[in-house]
């Protein structure tokens, strides 16, 4: 069971990763190019060597990095899809949904909130040129701490809702209690964790466009994973039952 869902998760994740990679390639890359121009112009203004940020790192040309984008989203897809498949194997019997299709969609939605959306609202994506290289250690730690805590919030929200349902609490009261509780916990997390990097004089419009294309990339990934994984399982379930 675990091996089956692991394989299907990796396959679905690879396809979803490629899909969001193409989106990022066509809609995100022009914004990244714009951000790198701003970064280089700023570095020139401050009469620093271009090495301040990117200059010393020119291991790969920009066009190679754009191919690397597809590599990165595919690898992200395979690994996250594999983990998702095993988590699905564990939670499958515990979800209220009663078909493989709706189970897949509800678990990917939950994962989208926990892995991406809740952390993203606190630490939104930053283009090249925002955030200084010296703080990469703390920014990485904060981001992954936020991802872990968001996952804890999502899983405990689900667990509490399940317990309250089992105790026979009425639906409106239960949903209000659960929604309010999770919003309060997320609010506390947002104010307790340190702020993200200050974009300084980076153009606000370009920053917004970048964050929007980053959001789009992740939405496409999780939607793609839910749909493809659900479709695969649905197909095998139908085959098995005929």
């Amino acid at each position: 069971m675990f091996a089956t869902f692991l394989h299907r998760g990796m396959a679905a994740g690879l396809l979803a990763g490629l899909l969001c990679g193409f989106f990022a390639f066509f809609l995100g890359e022009p914004v990244v190019d714009g951000a790198i121009q701003v970064e280089e112009a700023t570095a020139a203004d401050h009469q620093m060597e271009a090495s301040a940020n990117h200059g010393h790192e020119e291991i790969f040309s920009r066009s190679t990095q754009k191919v690397g984008l597809l590599f990165a989203t595919s690898l992200f897809g395979v690994t996250v899809g594999g983990i998702f498949g095993m988590v699905y194997a564990y939670f499958r019997s515990r979800l209220l949904s009663n078909s493989e299709w709706s189970r897949s969609l509800s678990l990917t939605s939950a994962a989208f909130f926990g892995v991406f959306l809740i952390p993203f609202l606190k630490y939104p994506a930053n283009p090249p040129g925002v955030g200084s290289p010296e703080t990469i250690g703390s920014r990485t730690t904060e981001y992954f701490a936020m991802v872990t805590l968001s996952l804890v919030v999502v899983v405990s929200t689900w667990y509490v809702a399940r317990e309250l349902r089992a105790r026979g609490m009425s639906t409106p009261v239960r949903q209000l209690v659960v929604a309010l509780g999770s919003v309060v916990v997320i609010g506390v997390l947002y104010s307790a964790l340190p702020a993200g990097p200050d974009p300084g004089e980076f153009p606000a419009g370009l920053l917004w466009d970048f964050r929007l294309s980053s959001l789009g990339t992740q939405v496409i990934f999780w939607a793609g994973l839910g749909v493809i994984f659900g479709f695969l399982n649905e197909r095998y379930a139908r085959k098995a039952s005929t």
């Binding site: 675990f2 790192e57 990095q65 990165a72 095993m86 283009p127």
Partner: protein, 71 residues
Amino acid sequence: MERSVSPKAISLGEIPWWSWLVLVLLLVVLFLALSASGDLLAPLIGKAAYATDYLHEFTHDGRHLLAIPCH
């Protein structure tokens, strides 16, 4: 209707041992692909960390667009 039957619940103890190994392996690959960089790892493992900059630079645009902190 046959699909509305809930599948059998798997308890934590019934999770196959190898899936924990696979989980760790996948997390390591994910970290190398999306977060490892010389500047990040140098304080921990020294100069050898800069070897990961090849991966860092190759996956650079993907890291930024997937919203992961990148230098």
